[in-house]
């Protein structure tokens, strides 16, 4: 199951970059978000999976698709010229970054100094009443300052978006 979803994510991300039309690449991204939600659900992060579907595949992508409609961007663009120096530089930089990430991951995996494993094994989470209960208990025990700061950030972001989208700032 996870292997199939991974394959779908790999293919959809390439399709998103190479799509001729912005709306096609937005829809590729929506399906990619839903596949990622499936991966989260499959490895036991149920609340993150629900948020991924609701916030990303729902709210954020609706906003993106709505903006594409608003700005009338349905003209197709010419395909990317693979021989221009800027494109070669971009692809080269990305390949180097991917190589560095892969090498550093395998270094971490074979390191002699292992990190300490936490208390939340699958059985412990089951004892606490499931992923959502364990996560909410932890959020209000350890992460309440971050939670309040996010609560402050969201109205500020909404106010900023409204002010920016107004026609004239008086």
């Amino acid at each position: 199951m996870i292997e199939a979803l991974t394959l779908a994510v790999v293919i959809l991300s390439i399709m998103m970059i190479l799509a001729k039309n912005p709306i096609n690449s937005a829809f590729c991204l929506v399906i990619l978000m839903i596949c990622l939600g499936g991966i989260y659900a499959a490895i036991g992060a149920h609340f993150v999976a629900a948020l991924q579907i609701i916030v990303y595949a729902g709210a954020v992508m609706v906003l993106v698709v709505f903006s594409i409609m608003l700005m009338n961007l349905n003209e197709t663009r010419s395909s990317i010229d693979l021989r221009s120096p800027s494109v070669l530089l971009a692809v080269g930089a990305t390949v180097v970054l991917l190589a560095i990430l892969t090498i550093s991951f395998f270094e971490w995996q074979t390191a002699t100094l292992k990190p300490v494993s936490g208390p939340y094994t699958l059985e412990a989470i089951k004892q606490l009443g499931g992923n959502v209960f364990a996560l909410s208990a932890m959020m209000f025990a350890k992460g309440y300052i971050q939670f309040e700061l996010i609560g402050l950030l969201l109205p500020v972001a909404v106010a900023g978006a409204l002010v920016l989208a107004k026609r004239k700032v008086d």
Binding site: Q52, A157, A165
Partner: protein
């Protein structure tokens, strides 16, 4: 290849694909979608490390990142609406008033 290795490599791959979308495209909305893709790669890395290390703090941080990404995309898209009004387009080669 076990699941955790596969997902760690996928998270690095997603980050790189987001970077590639950011660097290759001239359309600002697709560049913004590239940033979303990079944030998704980071989220996947957090959740996979949380699973590997039996710690829920990674999932907690993933939730906060999702909230910040929603705020970021709302502000970014309203900036793009403003740019569209002033320049008549959102391609990055159209908005060159600050170029010397």
């Amino acid at each position: 290849m076990d699941t955790s290795t596969l997902l760690h490599l996928l998270s690095g791959y997603l980050f790189c694909m987001g970077l590639l979308a950011l660097l290759l495209q001239r359309n600002s909305i697709i560049m913004l979608m590239g940033i979303e893709l990079m944030l998704n790669g980071i989220n996947l890395s957090f959740v996979t490390f949380a699973r590997d290390l039996n710690d829920l703090a990674g999932q907690l941080n993933a939730i906060f990142i999702i909230a910040i990404a929603a705020a970021e995309s709302a502000v970014g898209l309203s900036i793009l609406v403003h740019v569209y009004r002033n320049f008549g387009g959102i391609k990055t080669d159209q908005t060159t008033s600050l170029r010397g």
